[in-house]
């Protein structure tokens, strides 16, 4: 194992995949010379040159759209949209072009691209640079959606995403970029659609991803001191979603708390809750609880932002309501 940050792990995955396959290239705003707005692509421009690590004008539509065109024509683009909040300016390219081409063209076209983007609040970036919009894209058939929470997962999942023949939206959490983690040495990948039990427990299942996974683990530690053993599951990939791991856990614990940073209304947690209610209601001993953000844009003032983001206390409170 090697210690490195979430950001370095992503950088390594990019470098390894670019070395492995010449068809992989990076395109995005400030990803080259500047090393990326969050520094994630640092050094790649020097290693691979401007032909493969391409600085794009501020043109999300053209970044995304040209990546789709290049992917259909045989390349493996890794476009970067700096903030997930900017998906609104390239949503057609993602939703109507990338996602649907394989189906629309009767299975004859492949769109092997990996869109990297950053989500999440907690850095004072306010309403247009802090959102968690995974629910938008989870709603679109044809896209895969990955949201890693740790350095090791980020690296292994990104490598799989790049090798996948489908369009994958890879959502990184901006507040995790500096988080250290243990990363296996050498070549490895993590399959898309495989959840990870980050902490075992018998009393309650907490499903959390991205930044919330860390809050859930912290909450679980506190709960353990009070005699409640929570099992914490990180789905890692929202589409495809690993139901089996979740259902098995619920079978054991009988209780489910879903935690995400996105707004609760219309959030992906609602989809998970509905799935569980439809498919394994009999395992449940209590109603499903969701811990998520209020139905409001993300505020700027630090105290408001802190109150906005789901935290350990809210997770603990949700769990404790069962007991």
């Amino acid at each position: 194992m090697v210690e490195m940050t979430y950001s370095q792990a992503i950088n390594e995955a990019l470098e390894e995949e670019m070395r492995r396959d010449e068809k992989v290239y990076i395109l995005g705003e400030d990803v080259g010379l500047f090393g990326g707005c969050f520094g994630v692509t640092t050094g790649l421009f020097e290693k691979f040159g401007g032909e493969r690590v391409i600085d794009s004008p501020i043109s999300e539509t053209a970044i995304m759209g040209s990546a789709v065109g290049a992917a259909v024509a045989g390349l493996r683009p890794v476009p970067e949209i700096m903030f997930v909040d900017f998906l609104g300016v390239c949503l057609d390219e993602l939703v109507n072009q990338a996602a649907k081409m394989h189906f629309m063209f009767g299975g004859k076209a492949k769109v092997p691209l990996t869109l990297r983007t950053a989500c999440g609040a907690g850095v004072g970036a306010a309403a247009q640079h802090s959102q968690s919009l995974e629910a938008w894209i989870c709603h679109v058939p044809g896209l895969k959606v990955v949201m890693p929470s740790t350095a090791a997962d980020a690296k292994g999942l990104l490598k799989s995403a790049i090798r996948d023949d489908n369009p994958v939206v890879f959502i990184e959490h901006k507040a995790l970029y500096g988080a250290m983690g243990e990363v296996p040495e050498g070549e490895y990948t993590i399959p898309l659609g495989k959840a990870d039990i980050k902490r075992e427990g018998k009393d309650v299942t907490i499903l959390a991803y991205s930044m919330m996974l860390h809050k859930a683990l912290a909450a679980a530690e506190t709960l353990a001191l009070q005699g409640i053993e929570a099992e914490v599951i990180d789905p890692r990939t929202l589409v495809p979603f690993d139901k089996e791991t979740l259902y098995k856990s619920i079978e054991k614990t009988g209780r489910l708390v879903i935690v995400h940073e996105a707004v609760k209304q219309g959030g992906f947690g609602g989809e998970i809750a509905a799935m569980v209610a439809e498919e394994c209601f009999d395992f449940l001993d209590a109603p499903i609880k969701r811990v998520a953000a209020p139905f409001a844009p993300i505020p700027f003032a630090a105290n408001l932002e802190a109150a906005y983001i789901p935290d350990e206390a809210k997770i603990i409170a949700a769990v404790k309501s069962f007991f």
Binding site: E51, T61, A62, G65, G69, V89, Q97, M104, F105
Partner: protein, 320 residues
């Protein structure tokens, strides 16, 4: 390069094939045998034909919602195209795309597109791929006058220009965005004027003259292939039918329609060929008859093809 008689007659045959295909689709659509929306290319045949005659195997085209003509000009199978429009399993896309999503990626036909202006970044990307992989290919993007108001147009031309991509942007200015005339939807008359803003050459050609389009595309493709960067060609043309089949066309007058029909690219080219003694009337008639037969066969193929089985519903959402 000057074209010989065989090549000239081939241009005519392509245009005639598109015309016959479209008029046949119109007929079956009005009989209720074709579902959904169809947007016909009748009247604009010279553009796709003149441009695609300059393409090679490794080249790409991105199309529009009015895409049948582009597919035919690129050489897509008439049987499969017709079957697709009829929604049958033997269609280009197993009946899952329909008129607005006909594609043949192996042929470099990146598909018709239901979103106005969506082809622009796709072609830009295909052009990027050609340059990146050094295939010596070019990408052609067909798009309409109204699409030139979309952000995709501006972002794509800018990106193609800074990256010096081998992309030829072919604007089919048929003077209307659905019901809105060009003079109402943009405060310029020549879309080619916009090329300069992106540092690329732009030109206007008579889109109803297949030889004018051929020549312009020949030079543009040659330049793009040689690394000269993107070019914008504006072809002035007109659609004989409405925006979609069933459009009552209340936004344009008969006088205008008739004036453009008088410039119909088909008889115009056929007459020219005859005047130049490159074809006799009998030869033209023979091509027309052969085309009629081929299209009738395509309809038969389509009608004999089964509808997709229900398990197709969730197939091909993802590739394995």
């Amino acid at each position: 390069m000057a074209l010989n008689k065989v090549q000239m007659l081939e241009l005519y045959r392509k245009m005639r094939t598109i015309r016959e295909f479209e008029e046949t689709v119109a007929k079956f659509f009005s009989q209720g045998q074709i579902p959904g929306f169809v947007h016909l290319y009748t009247g604009e045949e010279a553009v796709a034909t003149g441009v695609c005659a300059n393409l090679e195997k490794q080249d790409y085209i991105a199309s529009t919602h009015r895409g049948h003509g582009h597919g035919i000009a690129r050489g897509a199978s008439l049987n499969k195209m017709m079957a697709e429009i009829f929604g049958r399993i033997d269609g280009e896309c197993k009946g899952k795309g329909g008129s607005m999503h006909i594609a043949d990626v192996e042929l470099g036909f990146l598909g018709a597109n239901g979103i106005v202006g969506a082809g622009l970044p796709l072609a830009t990307g295909a052009g990027f791929a050609a340059k990146y992989m050094k295939t010596n290919g070019v990408a052609i993007c067909f798009f309409g006058d109204a699409a030139s108001n979309r952000g995709t147009f501006h972002e794509s031309l800018n990106m193609a220009s800074i990256q010096k991509l081998p992309v030829v942007f072919v604007n089919e200015n048929n003077m209307y965005g659905i019901s809105m005339s060009q003079e109402r939807h943009q405060n310029i008359s020549d879309i080619a004027d916009r090329a300069g803003s992106y540092g690329m050459p732009g030109m206007v050609v008579d889109g109803n003259d297949v030889m004018a389009v051929y020549e312009a595309a020949e030079e543009a493709v040659k330049s793009a292939r040689a690394g000269g960067g993107p070019v914008l060609i504006e072809c002035k043309t007109y659609r004989h039918h409405g925006h979609f089949e069933g459009d009552a066309c209340i936004y344009r007058c008969d006088e205008e329609v008739n004036a453009w029909k008088a410039k119909d690219p088909l008889p115009r080219f056929a007459n020219r060929l005859q005047e130049m003694k490159m074809a006799t009337e009998a030869e033209i008639d023979q091509i027309d008859a052969e085309v009629k037969k081929v299209i009738a066969d395509a309809v038969e193929f389509a009608q004999n093809s089964p509808v997709p089985t229900l398990d197709e519903l969730t197939k091909d959402v993802y590739c394995d």
